[in-house]
Every structure is written in structure tokens, then in C-alpha cells.
Amino acid sequence: MKTLFVTFLLFVALVAQAHDKKFEEAMAKQIQHVYTAEKTEALQAATHALDRIAQAEKSRWEPLYYAAFGYVMMANREPEAAKKDGYLDQAMERIRKAAEASPNNSEITALEGFAHMIRVTVDPATRGQQYSALSMQAYGKAIQQDPGNPRALALMAQMQYGMAQFFKSSTAEACTMAQKALALFEGAKSESPLTPAWGRGMTEGLLAQCQ
């Protein structure tokens, strides 16, 4: 009987492990797609796949986070204002849910700031004030939650760079911040394939502009 019980536990553990493995594999595949998709259809397919994982894995924040990231990227590519807003609404809904699953998560907060930042581009004249403030605030909060989050710093640098350009003031502060972000990117160790790893290219691009 005892052996039977141990066998059973072992079996349960194996099943659970198999499940975790399945989750990680599925996630890793779709995350890769979201990062690298060139065509909008491919980006949408990956985002949808992440949405499917999210509805199956209700307690995990990662699928919601990456699905939201996918929608932000789709919004970023979309030229039509109404659709852009639609994608950003989808992103915000997932960001909210992700933050419920994982409170005080710096990555989620930084992504929220990113979504607000894209919102500005829809209509900078009337949205600029409200959403750039929301965006900066989210980045500030994300840095507070995890000073080692390179994305929070990189996005804030991006935003500051844009504002400095607008006001024709010095971009030095933004560039120093981007430099710091790059150092964080270099020092970042990937704990798991699910750890967010995007944003380095963007930072390098910004630093190239800083030159």
C-alpha cells in the first residue's frame, strides 16, 4: 500500500512537471514569435495563442503580460487611430488582469507605461499631456518596484528623449539613463525562458541617436 502511495505521488508530481513543461514550452515558442514576428498576421497569431494559454492558466501573469505586449506591438504598427485604440484597450485589459495575478510586478507596470506611451502617438496634441504623465508615472513606479528592471529605465529614457527633443532642451539626461539601462540589459541573467527580455534593441537604437 505504501509503495502504491509513493508511486501515486510520484505520478502526480510527474504529471505536474509535465504540465509545467508544456506551459513553458508553449510560452517560450509564442514569446519568441511575439518578439520576432515580422508580419502582423504572425504577431496576431502569437498574441492569440498567448491569449489561449492565459485563459487556460488563470493564475499565471506571464501569458497575460505577453499577450498585452503583443497588443501593444500591434497598436504600434497600426496606422488607423480607432484600431490602435482598440488594440491598446485589449492590452490594458490584460495588463490589469496580470497585475491582479502578480501585484507590484515592475515588468507589468513598465508595460502599462509603454501602452500609455503608444496612446500618446494617436493624437499627441490632445493626448500628450494626460498620457505622457500617466506613462512617466508608471515608469517611475516600475523603477521603484525594481530598480534593476532595464525596460522601465529604457522606456523612461525613450520618453524623456522625445520630450527633450520636443522642447529642444538637452537630451543628456535621457541618454545617460539609456546608458544605465543598457548596462542593466548587459548584466541581466535570464532566470527562465519566461522572464521578459525585450527592449535592448530599442535602447541601442536610442543610444545611436544620442551619439
Binding site: 508544456k22 496576431q44 497569431a45 482598440g86 499631456q129 505622457s132 504623465a133 520636443f166
Partner: protein, 724 residues
């Protein structure tokens, strides 16, 4: 052991695969690309292609649910049984009604909001319109449907008098929305545009929720909690203000103190008015917001101000006499609202507001003390039945007390006044037949306890999408208690009533808006003097003539609006034109005639240009109003003369040297045109049988304003631009 085998067995079964494919179409049989099709609770699924086709393989078995979702459509679920045999399933999705693509009711309505993305007019537009001097009414005066009445500053809509436009803050009535002004000079709105996240200006056919407004409803939506702690300082050529906002996790508090003193300015720039002491005002306002749990929001807004001025008046035709007039106005407004969502479908909001307005006017030996208080209590329940049907219903009580007390030398004190409890209930439903067609039907019932009358007013509108644009039609009946200065002398006066019919066409595409609107308005039960020879009352004497509700009138016209924010980079402009034909037979009119506040043609162009090279926004506003009728007793007939046309070219510039500072300069009437709003005549003819006259002019040819606005905040990139 047995059930381990069973487990292994079942996992072996799970390895069997079922191909699933099919097509997703919309209600009109068109393919829906980019829909997400999934086996609920699993990772399995696929997106549809451009042809609406999806296809995937699942390892799940047994009874499952297939879920199809797509942005802009209602999700659909279908039970399936996965047994290894290929499944072919077709879906038809019903479009969900959402604000981005669906038709909206646009007849009569101009909405300015940062939240709603399909608006013609944005909150920031109010602040940056040249000539408006950051006054809400001033900016709205550049929209079609309004008539420029330069000596009033109020909103005159479609042949309606200024008091026929009612202001609401968060749905709560505001009894006296304008500050006091010297006779024949424009008054400013008491509420600053920076407090509001949205402005909905309706020139007719508005919702059953809004009562006590004959011509127009101006609904202001105050901001929700402010997320940033900040201090704003404004140094103005006519005073100073300081504001502080403190934000915490789920709430915020904001306070503002403003001091305005026109004395140095009036001494510097010669004025038409013979001031003894030009206006000085102090205003304190505060806003408190607190989220209650995750679903409730409590808001409080309070405003207290005090205005004072004194001047000399010279009676028309008697230049030797100078009469001192002194006015003190005390105003308090408080408004508390609570909104709560129950589940996804039910929403409850309730509020209470308090108004106090006191005027102390002294002229020579005569004095008038006027005091009005009002309490408004309201509760509204809303339900979203589905994405196609929503309704709301509410009850309210508007309780007003008014008194006027005259003191005339030795002749003693006379008092007139009334207490008016007004009960109202309303219900309204919006029904979408499709994305293209929406209907709104509502009814409002009011019980006027003062004269014990029960009124029932139907309101209805519909909108239909035609190609890129949409047509709207609205009808409604509206009522409003007679103005205080009539009601105080005869509290049995019935409410004045109006009927509106509006036909509207609107296209919003690619940051360009075109609107055309035609309307007909019918007035009945307007206040009228019983005696044809009765004179308009003097404010310093109680009015004692009998009044009737036999007045009537009409207004009809059409309006055009074009706005383009797209064609030229950094340029935004709009053009409005309104045509109005109106006549009324009311008050002392001997017959139906156009009233003095009505001009037939109103035209305005607002131009805003952001110039990045100088970090500045430049604004220009040109306004034109054709001559207004007035009555010249020296000639035969009634309303027998017309003033010259009104024209004004105003400019402003906002310079942003850095993200924390804004320098704002504005000047009205650049060309210095001598606008004449009307004429005053002496009450009695002179010895030669001629009535002396005097033109009502602008107090000064121009108004020049300079302000420096500084924002101190830890959050970067925040300035006062939205509040300018």
C-alpha cells in the same frame, strides 16, 4: 494499481488527435479575419485567416467547448465532442456595439472629452481658443447654434435667451453659473475649464435626464481622481492663483485660490465704464475624490467666491447726473456625488448639490438684496442589458428659495419671493438595432409644487449610419420655470415650454469633421405682460404688473461646421456658420418680432497653429454676427432698427520654454473695431419729442492678458497646458 492503469490509459487516449476546422463569418456573411478560436480551458486553437478560415489539431478528448472571440464582435461558444473524427464548424459572429465604430446620437450634441475618442470638440480646445480667455462659454460661442451677444457673455442658443442654457456639473444643477458683471459687460463662467474632463454642449434635443433647460444643456464632467501630486502657480496680469493637488493611492485632493483684481488694469487702459472701484474677486475651490473599494467613486466639489465692484451710471439723456452703483456678490456651490458599479451591468449614481447666490446692489438711496438658495438631490440607476440595450431611470428634487428685498429711502421695505419644490422622474433607453441604427426614447415628468402642475415631456432621437457619415433626428419637449424676476412677482406663473425638432448629418473621418444641422423650435407659455403698455421693470422697484403665460414664439435655422486637424501639419482649424430666423411675442412685445439677442447670421473661424521651432501655439479667432434688432422709439413700428454687425479678431500665443512653464498672452479685438451691441433710450421723450439714445459698446476696444503658469511636480512633463 488499477487506477494508475486507468490514468495511464486515459493519458493514452489524450494522445489521440482531432482536427478541427471551419469558417468564421459576420452577420452579413463576410469573413471575419483575425478571430481567435480555442478549445476553452486549453492551449489549443488558431486564428482565422483573411478568408475567415481556421484550422488546428487538438489532443483534447471528450466533450469540450469551442470559443470564438474577435475584437468588435460578441464571443460565441459551441459545445463539441472530440473523438478523433475531424470536425468542421462554421460560426456566425454578431457585431458588438462599441463606441469606436457604432453610430452615435449626434443631433444637437457637441461633446468634448478626452475619454471618448469620437468627439468633435476636446477639453483642451476650450483652453486654447483665442478670444475665449479660457472661459467655457467663450469657447463654445465659436460653435454652431450659438449667437454672439457681446454684452452678456452667456450662451444664447438658437433664438433662446441666455438663461435658457442650463449648466450641470456631474449631472447636478447649477443655478447661477455666471459671475456678476457691470451692466452691459460680459460675465464669465464661474467654473474654470481645467476642472473638467469632459464637456457636453447640447444645442437641443437633449436627454430626459436634463430638466429645467429650455434651449440648451451644458453638462460638465468633473475629473476623476488626479494621479499626480503637483503645485501650480499662475501669475496673471489681473491677479494670481495657486493650486495644489495631493494624490494618494485611490484618491486625490485639490485646492485652488484665485485672486483677481482688475483695478491696475482698468487704470492703465481707458474704459468706457466710469468705475469707482473696478471688480475684485476672490475665489476658493476644492475638489476631493476617493475611490471606494474597486467599484465606487466619491467626488466632492466646492466653490466659494466673492465679487465686488462699484461704478457710476449716467441716465440716458441726462449727462449731468451720476449715480453710484455698488454690487457685492457672494456665491457658494457644493456638489457631492457617488457612483457605484454593481457587477458588470448595473450602475448607480447619486448626488446632492447646494447653491447659494446673494447679490447686494445699492444705487443712490435704493437697495436690492437678492438671495437664492437651491438644493438638488438626485438618484439614477443604469443598466446595460446587453451590448444593444441600455437604460437609465432616476428621480430628483430641485428645491429653490428666492427672495428679493427692496429698500427705497423712507418708503420702507418691500419683499417678493417664492419657494419652489420641483420633483422630477425620468427614464430613458438606448436600443441598438445594429451597429448602424440606434434609437433613444425617454420621458421626463416634473411636478411643479409651486403652481401644482404635473408635466410629462417625451424625448426621442435616432441615428442611422449612411456610408461614412450618419444622420440623426431628435425630438423633445422641454420646460423651465419662469425667470426669477417674473416668478417672484407672480408665483402662479407656469413653466415656459419649448419643442425641438433637429435633423443632423455628421461625418468624422481622419481627423476631419463635417456637420450640417437644421432645426425647428416652438415656444409656448412664455411670460407676457397683460397690459400692452406695461414697461419693462426697473431692477430697483418691485414689478407689480399682472403677468400671463400667453407668450409664444419660434426659432428655425440651419448650421454648418467644418473642422480639419489633418491637412496641414500642426494646424487645427474649425469654421462654424449658423443661420437663425426667430420671432417671439412675449413680455412687452406688441406683436411677434425678433428679440434683441437674436442675430440672423453668426460665423466664426478658429485657427490654431503649433510652431515647434518657437515651442509655441498660436491661435486666431475671427467672429462675425450680423446686426441685431432693437427698438427705436423715435420711429414707427417695433424692433424697427438693426445694429451694425459684430466683428472680432482675437489672437493668443502660448509659449512653452520648458515642460514646467507656460507663458500665455492673449488679446481680443486686434483690429479695434467699435462693436455696438444695441442702444439704450431715455424713458421719456425730450421737449423736442425725441428720445435720447446711447450705444451699448464694449467696455474697452481690447482686452489684453498675460499669464505665467508654473507647475511644480515630481512627475516630469506635467504642465498646466490642459488647464489653460
Amino acid at each position: 494499481m488499477k487506477w494508475i492503469i486507468a490514468c495511464l490509459f486515459s493519458s493514452a487516449v489524450a494522445a489521440a488527435q482531432t482536427p478541427v476546422r471551419g469558417r468564421v463569418m459576420d452577420g452579413e456573411g463576410q469573413p471575419v479575419p483575425g478571430a481567435n478560436v480555442m478549445v476553452k480551458g486549453t492551449y489549443d486553437g488558431a486564428s482565422t485567416g483573411v478568408d475567415g478560415v481556421f484550422q488546428f489539431v487538438t489532443y483534447e478528448t471528450g466533450p469540450q467547448t469551442l470559443l470564438v472571440s474577435s475584437m468588435g464582435y460578441a464571443s460565441v461558444e459551441k459545445p463539441i465532442d472530440l473523438q478523433g473524427a475531424a470536425l468542421v464548424l462554421d460560426f456566425s459572429l454578431r457585431e458588438s456595439i462599441n463606441e469606436l465604430e457604432s453610430v452615435v446620437i449626434s443631433a444637437g450634441a457637441f461633446t468634448a472629452s478626452d475619454q471618448n475618442r469620437r468627439t468633435v470638440f476636446k477639453a483642451l480646445d476650450i483652453a486654447t481658443t483665442a478670444g475665449a480667455t479660457a472661459d467655457i462659454a467663450g469657447a463654445l460661442n465659436t460653435l454652431p447654434g450659438t449667437q454672439k451677444v457681446g454684452e452678456s457673455g452667456r450662451l444664447f442658443v438658437r433664438g433662446g435667451d441666455g438663461h435658457e442654457t442650463r449648466t450641470f456639473i456631474d449631472g447636478m444643477v447649477v443655478l447661477d453659473a455666471y459671475g456678476p458683471a457691470a451692466p452691459n459687460t460680459p460675465s464669465r463662467g464661474r467654473f474654470l475649464p481645467f476642472m473638467f474632463k469632459g464637456t457636453s454642449f447640447s444645442t437641443g434635443g437633449y436627454s430626459a435626464e436634463y430638466g429645467q433647460a429650455l434651449s440648451s444643456a451644458l453638462a460638465l464632467d468633473s475629473k476623476d481622481e488626479d494621479p499626480t501630486t503637483r503645485t501650480d502657480i499662475g501669475l496673471l496680469s489681473v491677479g494670481a492663483d495657486v493650486a495644489h493637488t495631493q494624490a494618494w493611492k485611490n484618491g486625490s485632493w485639490a485646492g485652488k485660490a484665485q485672486y483677481t483684481n482688475l483695478r491696475p488694469y482698468m487704470n492703465l487702459i481707458n474704459q468706457e465704464i466710469d468705475w469707482i472701484a473696478p471688480p475684485v474677486s476672490t475665489e476658493l475651490s476644492t475638489a476631493f475624490r476617493q475611490k471606494v473599494g474597486t467599484r465606487g467613486l466619491f467626488k466632492f466639489y466646492g466653490n466659494a467666491d466673492r465679487n465686488q465692484f462699484s461704478l457710476y451710471q449716467t441716465p440716458v439723456g441726462d449727462d449731468a447726473t451720476k449715480e453710484a452703483l455698488e454690487l457685492t456678490n457672494v456665491y457658494r456651490y457644493g456638489n457631492a456625488t457617488y457612483a457605484h458599479a454593481f457587477g458588470d451591468r448595473w450602475f448607480w449614481r447619486a448626488g446632492v448639490s447646494y447653491n447659494l447666490n446673494e447679490n447686494h446692489v445699492d444705487r443712490a438711496a435704493a437697495g436690492l438684496r437678492e438671495r437664492e438658495t437651491g438644493v438638488h438631490v438626485k438618484s439614477v440607476i443604469e443598466q446595460t442589458v446587453s451590448d444593444r440595450v441600455e437604460w437609465k431611470a432616476g428621480v430628483e428634487l430641485i428645491h429653490r428659495q428666492y427672495s428679493a428685498r427692496w429698500q427705497a429711502g423712507q418708503s420702507g421695505v418691500r419683499v417678493q419671493g417664492f419657494t419652489e419644490p420641483l420633483w422630477a422622474a425620468f427614464a430613458e433607453a438606448d436600443v441598438y438595432a445594429s451597429k448602424r441604427f440606434v434609437m433613444r426614447a425617454g420621458v421626463r415628468s416634473e411636478y411643479q409644487a409651486l403652481n401644482q402642475t404635473l408635466g410629462v415631456d417625451p424625448r426621442a432621437s435616432l441615428a442611422y449610419k449612411v456610408g461614412e457619415g450618419q444622420m440623426s433626428l431628435a425630438y423633445g419637449r422641454f420646460r423651465q420655470s419662469a425667470a426669477n424676476h417674473w416668478l417672484r412677482s407672480d408665483s402662479r406663473l407656469a413653466s415656459e415650454k419649448a419643442e425641438h425638432v433637429i435633423l443632423n448629418y455628421q461625418v468624422i473621418k481622419n481627423n476631419r469633421t463635417f456637420r450640417a444641422e437644421a432645426y425647428y423650435k416652438n415656444y409656448v407659455d412664455l411670460v407676457k405682460f397683460q397690459s400692452a403698455t406695461a414697461q419693462l421693470p426697473n431692477a430697483f422697484m418691485p414689478f407689480a404688473q399682472p403677468l400671463l403665460n400667453t407668450g409664444h414664439g419660434f426659432a428655425k435655422g440651419f448650421e454648418l461646421f467644418w473642422r480639419d486637424n489633418q491637412s496641414v501639419e500642426n494646424v487645427d482649424y474649425w469654421i462654424s456658420y449658423s443661420y437663425l430666423d426667430t420671432q417671439r411675442d412675449y413680455l412687452n412685445f406688441p406683436a411677434a418680432a425678433p428679440p434683441s439677442f437674436a442675430s440672423a447670421h453668426n460665423f466664426s473661424v478658429v485657427y490654431k497653429h503649433f510652431v515647434p521651432a518657437i515651442k509655441s501655439q498660436l491661435g486666431l479667432t475671427y467672429s462675425f454676427a450680423s446686426g441685431r434688432p432693437y427698438h427705436n422709439p423715435n420711429f414707427a413700428g417695433f424692433q424697427n432698427a438693426r445694429t451694425p454687425s459684430y466683428q472680432d479678431l482675437s489672437a493668443n500665443i502660448s509659449y512653452l520654454p520648458n515642460p514646467r512653464i507656460i507663458i500665455h498672452f492673449s488679446c481680443t479685438n486686434l483690429l479695434g473695431r467699435d462693436n455696438i451691441f444695441g442702444y439704450q433710450f431715455s424713458p421719456e421723450a425730450g421737449a423736442d419729442g425725441h428720445y435720447a439714445s446711447r450705444a451699448i459698446r464694449q467696455a474697452a476696444p481690447r482686452f489684453v492678458f498675460l499669464g505665467v503658469f508654473i507647475t511644480l511636480s515630481k512627475a516630469k512633463g506635467i504642465n498646466q497646458l490642459p488647464s489653460l
